[in-house]
């Protein structure tokens, strides 16, 4: 049976990400790292097919620098020996689209310097690969992912903002209506 790493072990691995993985991705002819080539190299390594043609098409020009940088960081994470032992079918469009959702909200270097963001990334990758971190139940893992999930955090902030907006609207309406006639009153209270 494949031994799944603990979250602390993965966080430790993420924090050791070499600076090269954070070098500017090439977009519109500028930058240092060809993200697509990097992803395909990682895939070849996982598949142990060093001469296989590239499988992933990133179209870097259509992605933001933040997203490409996060993809590069994920490439580093996938160098952890655990990922060579498991099936890699999850490393697909569904995974990419998650990165696209979260990337614009976090400053790229925080993924490897900030404890919470590194934990979020570790939990997100394990969840996508279909594994539960060592020492946790599936429910605990889900709860802990929710606790650090940037997308959920933003949703809460947006909902709070919407609730505040609604409260403001109702208060304004109350002030206006208090000063105006309402409707027939039929009895004393």
């Amino acid at each position: 049976m494949t031994e799944v790493p603990t979250i602390s072990e993965l966080i430790h691995h993420i924090k050791r990400c070499p600076a090269e993985f954070l070098a500017a991705p090439i977009r519109r002819g500028k930058g240092e790292v060809n993200s697509e080539a990097l992803v395909n190299d990682v895939l070849r390594r996982l598949l142990q097919q060093s001469t296989a043609p590239g499988k992933a098409m990133l179209t870097a020009d259509r992605r933001s620098a933040a997203e490409l940088l996060l993809i590069q960081i994920c490439c580093w994470i996938l160098t952890h020996p655990f990922f060579a032992k498991i099936d890699n079918g999850w490393f697909n469009e569904v995974f990419w689209s998650q990165l696209a959702t979260v990337a614009p909200h976090v400053k790229s270097e925080l993924w490897i310097t900030d404890e919470q963001r590194a934990e979020e990334l570790a939990r997100m990758i394990l969840k996508c690969s279909g594994y539960v971190p060592a020492g946790e139940t599936p429910d605990e893992a889900l709860d802990r992912f929710d606790a650090v999930n940037t997308v959920k955090r933003i949703k809460v902030i947006e909902e709070t903002a919407a609730a505040e907006e609604r409260a403001k609207l109702l208060r304004r309406q109350m002030a206006e209506q208090r000063a105006r006639e309402a409707a027939n009153v039929y009895g004393r209270e």
Binding site: M174, R178, R180, E181, G187
Partner: protein
């Protein structure tokens, strides 16, 4: 307190009524009071349909069974948790839900408005706080008009029905205050019937005798008001034949009920109601209030714990439900006490306390309505106050908050008259205990009759 302004046209007040002739007649009658306000029921066809649907449910009078919750409860609680900000974090189990006090709503009333409410449908009423601190209560036109459907359910039990229709005044709310909003209006639900809100204060009329002439001419089907107002009205001896008198705001004493029934030749109903949810129960005899709202669940809670009292034991009357999406209530503590017992299929409240009538006498011996005091006190920065009058007519006032004693004294002098003896004390807001507003007096109804 700032008075609201009448801003609507009659067509906006009655979107569905084409013929407003009767309204003009009520306003322009030679004996009509000097109406100071305008009002309508604002029912569109969609809203009228909702009122009619509610009336059907009210007529059925199907209450929850003893020891069980109403059928509508699970869906109602689910809806509250999904759409009302203040209830979103509530546990799903009714008995696990915390009770709610007036102060919580008064502080942030918008938190209790369902997300489904259109702010354009909002209507606001200020309660003068005859038994609590003043509070703004939000309503919509539907829940307001449903009062009539609730009244019909009460009347139906005695075989009385409202005729309605243009040309007939169905309901006249009679007040007896220094000042209040007065208007002639119509009811779309009652097919264009007249609705009046009048003040018996002679200052509101061209001639004092117009009060009787106007009432006799339009002879309303139902008169509503508080016990003191009905007493004043009875003494004016109008020759009218109402189908019923509906008394509320404070407990109707048995002696006065008998007198009114005899004089007007009709049943006199004592309604227990709150601005926060409108009617709760009705008494046809002293001390027993039959519940009249299957849509409003009543339970009796321990005064200090959110635990229901055993059947038949006294505690705080607490309500859940209602039909107002701007203030759906979950375990709302009314501040009134009593016990609950099923009488056949209908739950009844017994031993209701908290609304005892309080009689104040002015310097000239006239009756002073505590509503006028509550309204006047809204002007001041007071967290609450208590006012007591002794047999010697001396008025003792203690307010909690910041206000100049001299200003309070001036206001009370206006209300009680220049010859009254007043003692006014203002204390820090934190020192106020118990009810935020309390009135007490050593006078009784018998003293006004003299």
């Amino acid at each position: 307190m700032m008075k609201p302004v009448a801003v609507l046209s009659d067509n906006e007040r009655f979107p569905l009524l084409e013929d407003l002739g009767f309204l003009k007649e009520l306003r322009q009658d030679s004996s009509a009071p000097i109406f100071n306000f305008g009002s309508g029921d604002r029912l569109t066809s969609e809203k009228l349909e909702q009122v009619n649907a509610y009336a059907g449910r009210a007529r059925a009078q199907q209450f929850w069974q003893k020891d069980s919750l109403p059928d509508w409860m699970p869906e109602f609680l689910c809806w509250c948790r999904a759409t009302v900000p203040a209830y979103r974090s509530y546990q799903p189990e009714f008995l696990q839900m915390p009770s709610l006090r007036r102060e919580q709503i008064a502080g942030r009333p918008w938190k209790y408005v369902s997300d489904e409410c259109d702010p354009d449908d909002m209507l606001v009423y200020n309660t003068s706080g005859s038994t609590g601190a003043p509070m703004d209560v939000m309503f919509d036109a539907v829940s307001q008009a449903c009062w009539i459907a609730q009244l019909e359910a009460i009347l139906a039990a005695d075989g009385i029905s409202l005729e309605g229709g243009a040309g007939r005044v169905s309901i006249c709310l009679v007040c007896n205050q220094e000042s209040t909003l007065t208007y002639a209006s119509l009811s779309t639900y009652l097919r264009g019937a007249g609705i009046l809100k009048i003040n018996l204060n002679p200052a509101d009329w061209r001639k004092p005798e117009d009060r009787i002439d106007y009432l006799q001419k339009y002879d309303p089907e139902i008169l509503t008001g508080d016990p003191f107002t009905f007493l004043t009205l009875a003494e004016m001896k109008p020759q009218i034949k109402p189908k019923a008198l509906v008394s509320s705001a404070m407990t109707l004493q048995e002696g006065l009920r008998r007198r009114l029934e005899k004089q007007f030749g009709c049943p006199v109903y004592d309604i227990y109601s709150l601005t926060e949810c409108r009617m709760i129960g009705v008494a046809r005899q002293a001390g027993v209030y039959r519940l009249i709202r299957p849509d409003l669940y009543v339970e009796i809670l321990h005064a200090d714990k959110d635990e229901p009292m055993p059947i038949g034991e006294r505690g705080e009357i607490t309500v859940t439900g209602g039909i107002n999406p701007f203030l759906p209530l979950i375990r709302y503590r009314t501040g009134d006490y009593g016990y609950l017992r099923h009488d056949g299929d209908v739950p009844c409240l017994y031993d209701l306390a908290g609304r005892a009538p309080v009689v104040f006498i002015g310097g000239d011996g006239s009756f002073v309505n505590n509503v006028d005091i509550s309204r006047a006190m809204c002007e001041f920065m007071l967290a609450g106050f208590k006012l007591h009058q002794g047999r010697d007519r001396k008025v003792e006032f203690v307010g909690w908050g910041s206000a100049a004693e001299e200003d309070i004294r001036n206001v009370l002098t206006q209300i009680f008259g220049s010859s009254s003896q007043l003692e006014v004390t203002i204390e820090a807001a934190a020192s106020g205990e118990g009810k935020k507003v309390s009135y007490s007096s050593e006078f009784t109804e018998a003293d006004i009759k003299k």
